[in-house]
Symmetry: C2
Subunit: 360 residues, 2 copies
């Protein structure tokens, strides 16, 4: 088990990464002094698969558990689902000392986390991420949100969990496409923050694709360390945390233009990484060859790097609506080389447009 | 102008108290480096009364202002109103650097503050409280919330404002009943935290009731200092901040039992103070006479201290549903003497019941 501390003073917490750590849910939560009531939030499939083990661990440590079902995937992040969670938490008798356990992927963590952030102005939260994407990204750092009809993640809160239990054995049942999508974030961490980690991922990629538990625990643990270090230095995303948006600026715009249907989030991020890598070369920020190394590992992971299925003009227009745009300016995070990043504001519209056209 | 700092590190801010400080809205916000877009949230009446002055000050400092109307009073705190604010903020082009200005009483500040706390995971907030209650209490400390069908303030967030502009001249148009209700919080601050302030309020009460601006600025400024000191020591209401719930534990229960219709919040707090003062004497926490001095100033302020219009049994039952109850235990804040408080947990149900019956 890899134990990754997230040092945020009174809001700090631990990420426990390993095969089988779900069994520690009850004892670890008890050790934190949490109140007796727990809401276990998950979709129907995961409640069936892992609900009994989670409940057994919690009840064994003396907790009373209410299982609250949410829709699978992004459908969970509707306002109506959030309102339903609030009502169900009242029904279950949750008070200010109670805890929400979010068992699932990023969407479940987002809505359950936002419910925990707002119920009685904030109660305890434990993230138990079940997808690779959530394990290396969404479960760490306290970002929670729901969607509005006009866009994703438009309302939410920063609410740090009290504990993250990252059980790599849960990845065994993850569908192949979702698993590969999660690798996009793993690769992203290496590109902008850690060249040695990137090289390790290049080497371990075959073992990861075979879901080897030792390789998974090592790589997921490494990604958690990288993300935790960023979060520690910038808990509320003032500046540094923007580095984690590498590949996401264009990736989000591609998702928006394609109606969040054509690509998984990770696939859109892979396309975004490929585009932003080429953009960096076009702007002279990166030397030739840096983009190709990024694309090679994305391709080896089975991720798309060409053919966005989105008109370049529409993607550029969508970029202007990004919530990171301030007073009209849109910052890009680019990688001058593997393991380093640079914030570049005021990238010319035309350069983005030409880059996207070349990748169409 | 009285300048009260609220020292909360990077979340710290100033409260400016004085007649006419609304005119400083634009320049003060500009000095904070806020982005160009501002949403001015108020009910129709206040938008008509003070919207033009607020807008003029903001536009004069270079801000673009969108006026967003919410229902008057508690009706503003419905989920539908919050969702409407989010949509209107998107319409108005608010981004992460933008600011919400809440112009109004506590309910407007609560819903506008919660909208600011959650829009794009949190944007800037300025409180411009227009009621005495909001000026001495709700506008300070970052508590925001909406109501659910099952109860008040059941969901919300802690979101500190970047500035509080407390214009005592705005109190000139406040209806008499609302004004007197605000005095309940002023008196509360004296009872549990500051005997000298309590004595000053006793002396200045006739001038306050005549809405003398110098007396108002002095007393409101004093209350802001008292509340700021509590908030500084306990930003998220872990323990100390519970002191401000004096009179509110029973007051809230009376409001709930009477359907939030019979009494204003301040009147219910006055009844709660009277009850909790008598409870303290019954329990031997306070000496005889301490309750009478509290009741005398409440009466002089035109506030009720007898006749809750709520059956004692129902009030006691409602106490068990208070969100400050944890695992069934309900703490009371009591005043052993004027200017001091004590947290008492596990107060016998029967003592509360008998106290309420005696005050019926």
């Amino acid at each position: 088990v890899i134990d990754v501390p997230v040092r945020l003073g009174p809001r700090g917490y631990r990420i426990l990464v390993g095969a089988g750590v779900l069994d520690r849910l009850g004892p670890e939560l008890a050790a934190l002094g949490a109140g007796r009531r727990v809401a276990l939030v998950a979709d129907a499939g995961l409640l069936g698969l892992h609900g009994p083990a989670a409940t057994k661990s919690l009840e064994g440590a003396g907790f009373g558990v209410a299982a609250l079902e949410v829709p699978a995937g992004e459908e969970a992040k509707r306002l109506e689902v959030l309102a339903g969670l609030w009502e169900a938490m009242l029904d279950a008798g949750l008070d200010r000392g109670s805890t929400v356990v979010a068992l699932g992927g990023g969407a479940t963590g987002d809505v359950a986390g936002f419910a925990a952030a707002t119920y009685m102005r904030g109660i305890g939260l434990v993230q138990v991420p079940t997808t690779l994407l959530a394990q290396v990204d969404a479960s760490i750092g306290g970002k929670t949100a729901i969607d509005l009809p006009r866009g994703k993640n438009l309302v939410g809160a920063f609410h740090q969990p009290r504990l993250v239990l990252t059980d790599t054995a849960l990845l065994g049942t993850l569908p192949e496409r979702d698993f590969r999508s999660g690798l996009a974030e793993v690769i992203k961490h290496g590109i902008v923050l850690d060249a040695a980690y990137f090289a390790e991922v290049e080497v371990l990629l075959p073992a990861l694709l075979a879901r080897d538990l030792a390789a998974l625990t090592r790589v997921v643990g490494g990604s958690c360390r990288i993300k935790a270090a960023v979060v520690e230095r910038d808990a509320e995303e003032a500046e540094l945390r923007a580095v984690l948006n590498y590949g996401h600026t264009i990736g989000h715009a591609i998702e928006a233009v394609t109606g969040f249907a054509r690509w998984t989030h990770g696939e859109a991020v892979a396309l975004g990484i490929a585009a932003e890598a080429r953009l960096a070369e076009r702007l002279g920020v990166a030397a030739p060859g840096v983009a190709e190394r990024q694309e090679a590992v994305l391709r080896a992971a089975g991720l798309p790097v060409r053919g966005t299925a989105a008109p370049a003009e529409a993607v550029v227009e969508a970029l202007g609506r990004d919530k990171k745009a301030r007073d009209g300016r849109l910052p890009f995070v680019l990688a001058p080389e593997i393991g380093r990043f640079r914030l570049v504001s005021d990238v010319p519209r035309a350069a983005v447009l030409e880059t996207l056209r070349a990748l169409a």
